[in-house]
């Protein structure tokens, strides 16, 4: 306990006033938890002492709950708990007390450990109608205790016992039974002649009554006026996909949400909601974890702990986080313990990864021919002895194969969860291990999460979540550029038999792609540790119904260590592969002065406090929900880099990175960064007759990153919704369109888009400033200079957005169609602007201009087919986004009545961001194009450009917009088919330009055989132009770039993103083995890609010889068992 307390002190240092509270609540939680976990026949040993006069039965039961760990399950409509009683017992067992409290004739008492279920006792002799019985289970056959079964339209009903069984009397044959349970869809069964009933409840996944999480509170989808998409992870097929990152699973599931590809082990994808709004500021949405702004890295969240995502897309939804929500908000809710028996869950998942879009390198013959043609020579003297020998012997090395492998992913999870009425807990641990396709691309991670919520009193609830993540990214990835540059006859090993690497496979310049990756020449560290704690206290003010106060405290501490140590052996001299002396001890000894390394310790700590006051009440047909929030947060980063070099004096480097302090030269670099935010927020939600809904909010925000006079921003938002299907006039079409809600919202949000100190003009100085000079002696004089031109007027980037849409259910809730349309205007753009270098600086941050985004999102979910054994569901999401630069600097210097473009930065008024500006290519200059060649001083075989102004020459006036880098249409189609215990899921996604020239990128290496700057580099085969075989697409081999050639290529693609097949066991042997749930599955991600892009992955935009890995394909097998 003391240790734990100390740890907490560490976490919260600098914030001491919280400690006392923290300590108390923690203590309480732990005591409750320990008691709950203790075993024994509790009912037999626990004694109760009560002395109550004129109290209601309810109060007595509450008193017992307070005194003991018992909790009661009952339906207050069936058990009369308002009855006043006098009760006085001293040290009695619970069954005795209950016998005194209830008449056996009316109430059945069932005691299971600490759970006590009260149900109305059987029939009375006078009501001789019909007696029925039955069972309630979930879809996997697990019984549900505490489910309510009510005769529709009456107060007659009952609650299931611990075995999920119920019985009822007085039921008429023409009646209907309604069975309901929290978190499940209600089910109705007509009684008829039957006396035995089985209710199988489905989890409420799709539907209009979902509880959705919005900023500082929850609401139901029915009531909400904005645009929110919820993705449930628990028990959904996408949870079977092998994702190691919290966001990966959402890819393609949400219209308007773009999740980028992961191309390295443990990588984090890029995310973006509803297009690029900021010219160069941050476009990533805000992440909120369990109700609190998440200030860590997404890698720290174990995807398996996630219960659901809520993606807030429009202004009213995200208004609660006004300051940082212009790019939308992703709320992550982690799993909780559920009422009932504790659940122990195991999940194991492993598989392999491959590189599907691996480029095909040249054959040795093509390689030689290309090298000669590229250098316009027939001379072979560039080839080294060993290469010549290899060529003579036909010994070829496939460098790309040598640098890659079949990667794998392993992922193991275990969790325990459970809940009583007063307390819930969820504990999980996970270990993931992944090796990417590139040698050296390794990742592993352990995470632990503990969540406890407890009702301390009737008015106080507290909770604590604590998580720890430890991740290793250590390792150096093989260099993809050199792996593709190396010629087939180059020499990978100086000693083939022992596979000892040769550093210079071509004797000089080009380093072996595996050098420093394998072998003992370099150490690499990348360890990341993260602790985070979220606590809250919720007070229900007893004197005002519906008024609550919630206090959140979130603390986050990351300790990351990165570093490298490159020992003397890494610096081996160039030379012929036969010259083994280079690798001798004597040679290494001379290189000790080059050995060097560094350890970089980075500590990020942050805290956040929310004070939330909310009031929720219903007055007849009026419902009101008021929220007021005061919040502030602070984050602090410290970075210390320790650098050591030259180990000559030390004599060796045996200690490796841990011997940095033995280095002759030692340096240190320190950087500290602080950032703080304050927000005040108020929101009113009002509904009338559950048909008309209104939400409005105001937030005032302050951020430290802005200039002194521009720190504060004000953000308003409002929305309306109309449940039109509940109106009388709607009835005629209700049969087809079962429900329809119209909604409209508008509001403003902010974006910080600027790092700390971005408004200042920093000065470089001293050793870390990097400016050095000597005046004839070894003494280094450090220079000083301003490194950036500060801009003190930088303030909030603001996005005004409007959303219009409808939500509808069709054909007896078989088809759900949601459509949203939005318009956003982002003003006061924060971006890096190129400025005349005569100022001494080439860029600066500015705040001006406007970007508009318009988009349309549709989501269709359907139940295509359903019978006893078969169900087939489909989901289709599509989204279109167009952005447009509306204003920039507001100048019209050329007086053409139109605002001027910023050509230097490729920003054009009225056009989308990401414009590609340049010379439109018109094939290749052919030998017959003599006029063109003379006018432009070029030779045949070079790219030819369109002479826009028809002056006969290609000049800077011939530039135009050639296309745009952004995609603007995405489609995802998913299908889930289940047959009995089988379930099959597949998702196909497509990303398209959706317009002329959209979603293009320069891919010149896919067209050019030349231009590498290296004499004999390898590549993919290019059918280059020659005078005898003139191409009109590929320039001649000698063409090495002209500053104009781009080689634009479309990145459109269609991809089979996810496939998985699972089987759930529910055979008797499974039950007999005490297994509650057992599922095995196979899954595959990124199965096939259809694209015209060459060189690598279109999604990542990988080009040939780029040192960027592509998105990988993975194939997995997994099992999920719970007890």
């Amino acid at each position: 306990m003391k240790k734990l307390f100390k740890l907490l002190c560490l976490l919260f240092s600098g914030h001491k006033k919280m400690l006392l509270v923290m300590r108390n609540s923690l203590f309480l939680i732990l005591i409750t938890a320990f008691q709950a976990l203790a075993g024994g026949t509790y009912a037999q040993t626990t004694r109760l002492t009560l002395d109550l006069k004129n109290s209601s039965v309810k109060e007595v039961l509450q008193k017992i709950e307070q005194q003991s760990e018992f909790y009661f399950l009952y339906n207050s409509e069936l058990i009369d708990v308002q009855r006043k009683v006098d009760l006085s017992v001293a040290s009695e067992k619970v069954d005795v007390v209950l016998a005194r409290l209830f008449d056996k004739e009316n109430v059945n008492v069932l005691v299971r450990d600490r759970h006590i279920v009260l149900t109305p006792a059987g029939e009375s002799a006078t009501q001789q109608q019909k007696r029925i019985s039955g069972k309630v289970t979930d879809q996997s056959g697990v019984v549900i205790p505490g489910a309510t079964i009510v005769l529709k339209g009456s107060t007659n009903g009952t609650v299931t016992d611990m075995n999920g069984l119920f019985s009822m009397s007085n039921v008429p044959e023409n009646g209907t039974l309604v069975c309901s349970f929290v978190g499940m869809k209600s089910q109705e069964i007509a009684i008829g002649k039957k006396t035995e009933f089985t209710f199988v409840l489905a989890e409420a996944t799709v539907g209009v009554d979902e509880v959705i999480v919005i900023g500082y509170g929850t609401t139901t989808k029915k009531e909400f006026t904005g645009s929110v998409t919820q993705v449930k992870m628990e028990n959904s097929p996408i949870a079977n996909q092998p994702s190691l990152n919290a966001l990966e699973a959402m890819k393609g599931s949400v219209a308007g949400l773009d999740v980028g590809a992961i191309n390295t082990a443990g990588g984090t994808p890029s995310i973006q909601i509803r297009g690029v709004k900021s010219i160069s500021g941050n476009n990533s949405p805000l992440i909120v974890l369990d109700g609190v702004i998440f200030m860590g890295s997404l890698n720290q969240i174990n995807p398996n702990d996630i219960a659901s995502y809520d993606i807030l897309k429009d202004a009213t939804s995200s208004a609660a986080y006004g300051s940082r929500s212009a790019n939308g908000v992703i709320i992550i809710t982690t799993k909780k313990g559920k009422l009932g028996k504790p659940i122990i869950n195991f999940n194991a998942n492993s598989g392999f990864q491959t590189w599907q879009t691996k480029p095909v390198m040249q054959t040795p013959e093509q390689y030689i021919q290309t090298v000669l043609d590229r250098n316009n020579t027939t001379d072979m003297s560039w080839m080294k002895d060993q290469q010549k020998a290899n060529m003579a012997a036909g010994k070829v090395t496939d460098w790309l194969a040598l640098s890659t492998r079949t990667g794998y992913v392993k992922d193991y999870q275990a969790s325990i969860s459970g809940a009583s009425e007063k307390m819930s807990y969820y504990l999980s641990g996970a270990y993931s291990d992944s090796k990417g396709v590139l040698i050296g691309d390794d990742f592993n991670r352990s995470t632990i999460l503990a969540k406890i919520n407890a009702d301390i009193t009737s008015w106080l609830q507290i909770g604590l979540d604590a998580a720890y993540t430890n991740a290793h990214f250590s390792g150096v990835r093989a260099n993809l550029t050199t792996a593709q540059n190396m010629g087939p006859y180059s020499v990978p090993y100086r000693d083939d038999a022992n596979q000892l690497l040769e550093k210079y496979p071509e004797t000089q310049s080009q380093v072996n792609p595996l050098w420093d990756v394998i072998g003992d020449t370099r150490e690499n560290l990348d360890k990341r540790n993260n602790f985070r704690v979220n606590t809250f206290a919720l007070i229900k003010f007893p004197w005002v119904k519906g008024l609550t106060y919630r206090f959140n405290y979130a603390g986050n501490l990351s300790k990351d260590q990165t570093g490298a140590f490159i020992n003397e052996r890494s610096y081996v001299a160039e030379g012929n592969v036969t010259d083994a002396t280079r690798y001798s001890i004597a040679a290494y000894k001379n290189l000790l002065s080059k050995a060097n390394g560094n350890i970089n310790n980075t500590t990020n700590s942050s805290w956040l406090i929310d004070n939330i006051l909310s009031y929720k009440n219903t007055f007849g047909k009026h419902s009101v929900d008021l929220t007021a929030v005061a919040t502030r947060d602070f984050s602090h980063s410290e970075y210390e880099n320790v650098i050591g070099s030259d180990f000559t004096a030390n004599g060796n480097t045996l200690l490796g990175i841990n011997g940095l302090h033995k280095a002759t030269t030692q340096k240190i670099d320190v950087y500290v960064q602080d950032r703080s935010n304050i927000g005040y927020f108020g929101r009113l939600s009002y509904s009338y007759k559950e048909k008309y809904y209104l939400t409005s909010s105001y937030r005032r925000d302050g951020a430290s990153v802005f200039g002194m006079d521009n720190k504060w921003g004000n953000f308003f938002a409002g929305g309306l919704a109309w449940k039109i299907s509940d109106e009388g006039f709607y009835t005629p079409i209700k049969k087809v369109v079962n429900s329809l809600k119209l909604k409209a919202s508008s509001g403003m949000n902010g974006n910080q888009g600027l790092g700390p100190y971005g408004t200042l003009s920093p000065v470089a100085s001293g050793s870390s400033g990097g400016i050095r000079y000597e005046f004839g002696t070894p003494t280094i004089n450090y220079g000083m200079n301003v490194t950036a031109l500060g801009n003190p007027i930088l303030g909030w980037e603001k996005t005004q957005s409007s959303n219009f849409g409808f939500e509808s259910a069709w054909f007896n809730d078989r088809l759900f169609l949601d459509v949203d349309m939005y318009f956003t205007q982002t003003t006061n753009q924060l971006f890096t602007r190129s400025i005349p270098v005569m100022t001494g600086f080439s860029t600066m941050q500015s705040s001006m201009g406007q970007v508009n985004n318009t988009g349309l999102e549709t989501t269709i979910n359907s139940v295509n087919f359903k019978n006893k054994d078969w169900t087939w569901n489909s989901g289709l999401t599509t989204w279109i986004n167009r952005n447009k630069l509306v204003h920039l600097y507001g100048d019209d210097l050329n007086k053409d009545g139109k605002e001027d473009d910023d050509i230097a930065n490729s920003r054009f008024i009225g056009k989308p961001l990401g414009a590609i500006y340049g010379y439109r290519q018109d094939g290749i200059v052919q030998t017959s194009d003599t006029q063109y060649m003379t006018a432009n001083g070029v030779t045949a075989g070079t790219p030819k450009y369109v002479d826009l102004d028809a002056d006969g020459k290609i000049t800077s006036l011939d530039r135009e917009i050639l296309g745009y880098t952004s995609p603007n249409f995405k489609i995802n189609f998913s299908n889930t088919v289940s047959y009995k215990n089988w379930e099959f899921y597949m998702m196909v996604s497509g990303v398209f330009g959706g317009g002329p020239g959209y979603y293009q990128a320069s891919n010149s290496t896919a067209f050019m055989a030349g231009g590498t700057g290296l004499f004999a580099s390898n590549s993919i085969y290019i059918p280059y132009w020659t005078s005898t075989n003139p191409s009109n697409q590929y320039p001649s081999a000698t063409f090495a770039g002209d500053g104009r050639f781009l080689g634009l290529m479309s990145r459109d693609f269609v991809r089979i993103q996810d496939i998985n097949l699972s089987y759930s066991f529910n055979q008797p042997w499974v039950k007999n083995a005490g297994i509650k749930n057992m599922k095995v599955f196979i899954s595959a991600t990124n199965l096939a890609t259809f694209t015209k892009w060459e060189g690598g992955d279109p999604e990542v935009g990988v080009t040939v010889r780029a040192n960027t890995p592509s998105a990988l394909s993975s194939y997995n097998l997994g099992v999920n068992i719970s007890f």
Binding site: D379, T581, R632, D674, S704, S767, G790, V938, D1042, G1043
Partner: protein, 595 residues
């Protein structure tokens, strides 16, 4: 119940504390902890000098670190001029194919920007020197710091004027962005630099005890060149250049005849009693004394010109009376942390014998000029033509200075092992054109300016890529050649010939100049002999105006590119396209011939 109420109050108090307990604006104020900003950076006069230190560092980057990228290979490496071209293996870096050289070329963008960044530093020092909180120990100190800053500014404008013509004059630090810069004329640009230098002459010491610091001689040399530049610009404008040329001669006189500087005529410095010697060996292990060139019958005799380029000999303070201003390089500082304190000339300019000559003379050791990668190579003009018919008559073409004798170092090749490899073999006479090109562009004579027989740091893992000597920015020889040019342009050809003969006499040349010989080409040829690898040839060619640059590039380039693609008559580099595009409030005219 009392306790309960108490707890509730506690919560309320806490709530109030959290909500109202802190001052919002104080909480949001940024206070950088680990770096300075312009608001608090300057507190002492030492810091103003640190800004000036940054200027020295910038200049060293531009003049020493030639191989960092294309811009410096063109600016200091003279790539693409009449002197230098690229080898077969680096055709991608060619800077004389006018089919691909446009105003967006990185050479122009980077060089232009670098000089304005130097101006920004100089302006910052000038601004900081006058800040009220700065206390100077003496007015002389302050004046000297200011003088250095103003020198760097003038130096930048001279370079910009020569390369790009008239440019915007920025005299103060810029605290808010501007988009309305206007080009001054070329004469105005030079005149600004001249006025600055003339104003600081009194503040510069005649000599300094500190190596590398600027002295009066440097300013006078710069003035000599600036007036020459101004005269040439006057000629182009049609105004009378005479006064400018006379001033040029005047400042030349001040340096050359002022008594402080003189050409070195006898052996001096760190190796004044040594001669260079080499091993015909391609591994260090085989560098045994029996393989010395001198033992094989090829001893080399050093001379004073060779001394000028030995490590430790580039400073006036070290007894070198012709060193006016040199960059500073220090191996000890390099080892510790200053990774810009070196001279990568062996790497950048050295040949690649080991490719075409691998069977006869291979390796990366001293005998083949170190570990050259031939980023820029001397044209046939630079290596042979200027010495043809007078091979032995010039110290600058002596074996010690411009080595042309190479002994085979591959024992397996018995024909040439330890024997002189004839140039017909080195140049692959009679083979296919490709093979000859490969040989001629990777194998060429090795200058003592770019290589040495005694590399520093080999024991520490240095691989004979770098020299650790300072580099001349202004050497008296150049002052003399500038004065000669000014005299020639004043029609004093006799005076010009006398000046050129000062240089030739020191080099023990048997061929001297007569007044009748004096011409622009003669001056340029003499500069090529004396200042190869030292001068920034682009500046020289472009400042002369007319078609000097175009004609000579077409005439002497190794490859045919300029002969087929150079159709424009340019005598200025283009204003970088980004400069025109970003300066949106005032159109900047592009230089003639560029589009």
């Amino acid at each position: 119940m009392n306790k309960l109420i108490y707890i509730k109050y506690l919560w309320l108090i806490l709530l109030l504390l959290v909500v109202f307990g802190c001052n919002d604006n104080e909480f949001l104020t940024e206070k950088p902890k680990t770096f300075y900003t312009t608001d608090n950076a300057f507190s002492s006069s030492d810091q103003v000098d640190q800004v000036v230190v940054g200027c020295y560092s910038n200049v060293r980057y531009m003049y020493n670190l030639v191989g960092q990228n294309d811009p410096w290979l063109a600016f200091k490496g003279s790539n693409g001029t009449d002197l230098m071209d690229v080898p077969t293996i680096r055709r991608g870096n060619r800077f004389n194919d006018y089919g691909i050289i446009t105003p967006t070329h990185t050479v122009f963008t980077t060089v232009y920007a670098a000089f304005y960044q130097l101006i920004e530093r100089a302006n910052l020092a000038i601004y900081a020197a006058d800040l009220p909180q700065i206390v100077w120990s003496s007015q002389t100190d302050k004046a000297y710091v200011l003088a250095q800053a103003r020198f760097f500014r003038a130096f930048s404008y001279r370079n910009l004027g020569e390369l790009f013509g008239g440019v915007p004059i920025v005299k103060e630090i810029v605290t808010a962005p501007r988009y309305d810069f206007e080009r001054a004329t070329r004469v105005q640009t030079y005149q600004f630099a001249i006025d600055e230098l003339e104003a600081i002459l009194v503040d510069l010491p005649v000599t300094s005890t500190i190596k590398g610091r600027l002295t009066k001689g440097a300013a006078q040399h710069l003035l000599c060149q600036l007036y020459l530049d101004k005269g040439l610009a006057n000629e182009a404008d049609g105004t009378d250049p005479k006064a400018a040329y006379q001033k040029s001669v005047e400042y030349g006189n001040a340096v050359i005849d002022g008594g402080t500087y003189s050409l070195m005529t006898s052996r001096f410095g760190t190796r004044s009693t040594q001669n260079p010697d080499y091993y015909f060996a391609n591994t260090i292990a085989t560098q045994t004394s029996d393989r010395l060139y001198s033992k094989a019958g090829f001893p080399i005799t050093a001379n004073v010109y060779w001394d000028l380029f030995q490590e430790g000999n580039q400073d006036f303070q070290a007894g070198n009376k012709e060193a006016i201003w040199s960059t500073q390089v220090n191996y000890a500082a390099y080892k510790v942390e200053d990774k810009e304190s070196f001279l990568p000339y062996s790497r950048v300019f050295g040949g690649v014998f080991r490719d075409p000559m691998s069977a006869i003379a291979t390796g990366t050791l001293e005998d083949v000029g170190g570990r050259g990668i031939a980023q820029a190579i001397p044209n046939m003009y630079t290596r042979d033509l200027i010495y043809s018919d007078k091979w032995a008559a010039d110290m600058r073409n002596s074996e010690a200075v411009f080595r042309r004798t190479f002994l085979g170092n591959v024992p397996a090749n018995t024909t040439y092992f330890g024997k002189v490899i004839p140039w017909s073999i080195l140049y692959r006479d009679g083979q296919a054109k490709d093979a000859v090109d490969a040989a001629k562009t990777q194998v060429y004579p090795v200058s003592c300016k770019i290589a040495t027989d005694k590399y520093t740091g080999v024991a520490d893992g240095e691989n004979m890529s770098n020299l650790f000597r300072g580099e001349y920015i202004f050497r008296l020889s150049e002052t003399i050649l500038l004065r000669a040019e000014a005299k020639m342009r004043l029609n004093d050809k006799v005076g010009a010939a006398l000046d050129i003969n000062l240089i030739r006499n020191r080099a023990n040349c048997t061929y001297l100049v007569t007044a009748a010989d004096v011409s622009v080409d003669l001056i340029l040829d003499e500069r090529a002999r004396e200042l190869v690898y030292e001068e920034t040839r682009w500046n020289t060619l472009l400042r002369m105006g007319g078609t000097v640059a175009v004609d000579r590039i077409k005439k002497y380039s190794y490859w045919d590119d300029p002969r087929t693609t150079l159709t424009k008559n340019f005598n200025l580099w283009p204003i970088p396209q980004t400069v025109i595009d970003t300066n949106k409030d005032k159109p900047l005219a592009q230089n003639p011939g560029w589009f």
